[in-house]
């Protein structure tokens, strides 16, 4: 019986340690991991887009 208690305790600890491994986040390679850029959404607005296009046309003056 004396031998069984430490063995059981070790087994329990090992089980708990392995249980902790279940909460692993697997990241998809090659996919951006950072915060989202608000500019990406802003660039979809027609107002900003027309403003940029007007600036681009100014490069045609020479």
């Amino acid at each position: 019986m004396k031998m069984k208690i430490p063995t059981l305790a070790l087994l329990l600890a090992a089980l708990l340690a392995v249980a902790g491994c279940s909460d692993v986040t697997v990241y998809e390679p090659g996919v951006y991991k950072g915060a989202s850029d608000p500019l990406v959404e802003d660039l979809r607005s027609d107002e900003l887009r027309s403003s940029l296009e007007e600036r681009q046309r100014k490069q045609m003056d020479r």
Partner: protein
């Protein structure tokens, strides 16, 4: 959807370095970092040519392909940006980039490179638009204000063009037609003139 690109007309570039200065001033780029630089071929010889080079915002960016922490992202308009909070300064992007665009401040001890810095097409980073954090980390966000990159907008000879790739190509095509031929800065004759 536009596809933002830079194009430097080597026939017009006079190596004034105005684009380099404008970029450094606008974004308060630290010493030792050049987001844009002017490269001169055959300097001092007849027929010398200069081109202004920065991040070319590649369609299939090799810097993003090799980044081990995936800190690069591309906007719908094809502007390649990165998150400095994720960057570990490994330098892989520097070796992958064919234009030498990624720069490292090298401020820290033992040769640690620090966070990578590169041309953002004046589009900042993932921080809130025109916030202090964005200004400190990435520089001014002109695109959010409806403006094009300053280097191109202030180019005195209009050698450096920026904007939608189709529009930039149209401008360049028109110039080439007026000149009668395309410049031989690149191409077969330059590369294989002795062959």
């Amino acid at each position: 959807m536009a596809r933002m690109k830079f194009l430097c007309d080597s026939e017009r570039c006079i190596e004034c370095n105005g684009c380099v200065t404008a970029c450094k001033n606008e974004h308060e780029v630290p010493w030792g970092v050049n987001r844009r630089r002017v490269v001169t071929l055959d300097d001092g010889l007849p027929g010398e040519r200069s081109i202004s080079v920065a991040c070319m915002h590649c369609t299939d960016a090799p810097c993003a392909a090799v980044c081990p922490v995936d800190c690069f992202y591309t906007t719908d308009d094809g502007i390649v940006l990165h998150d400095k909070d994720l960057c570990i300064g490994c330098g892989y992007c520097f070796y992958a980039c064919p234009f030498g665009a990624p720069q490292f401040p090298q401020k820290e001890a033992f040769g640690i490179r620090g966070k990578m810095d590169k041309c953002t097409f004046c589009a900042g980073g993932p921080e809130a638009n025109n916030s202090d954090a964005e200004l400190t980390k990435y520089g001014t966000n002109r695109i959010a204000n409806g403006k094009l990159p300053l280097c191109a907008e202030m180019c005195a000879t209009k050698a450096l063009l920026a904007g939608d790739g189709n529009m930039v190509a149209d401008i360049y095509r028109e110039r080439v037609l007026k000149r009668g031929s395309r410049p031989q800065t690149w191409g077969w004759e330059t590369a294989y003139k002795d062959a």
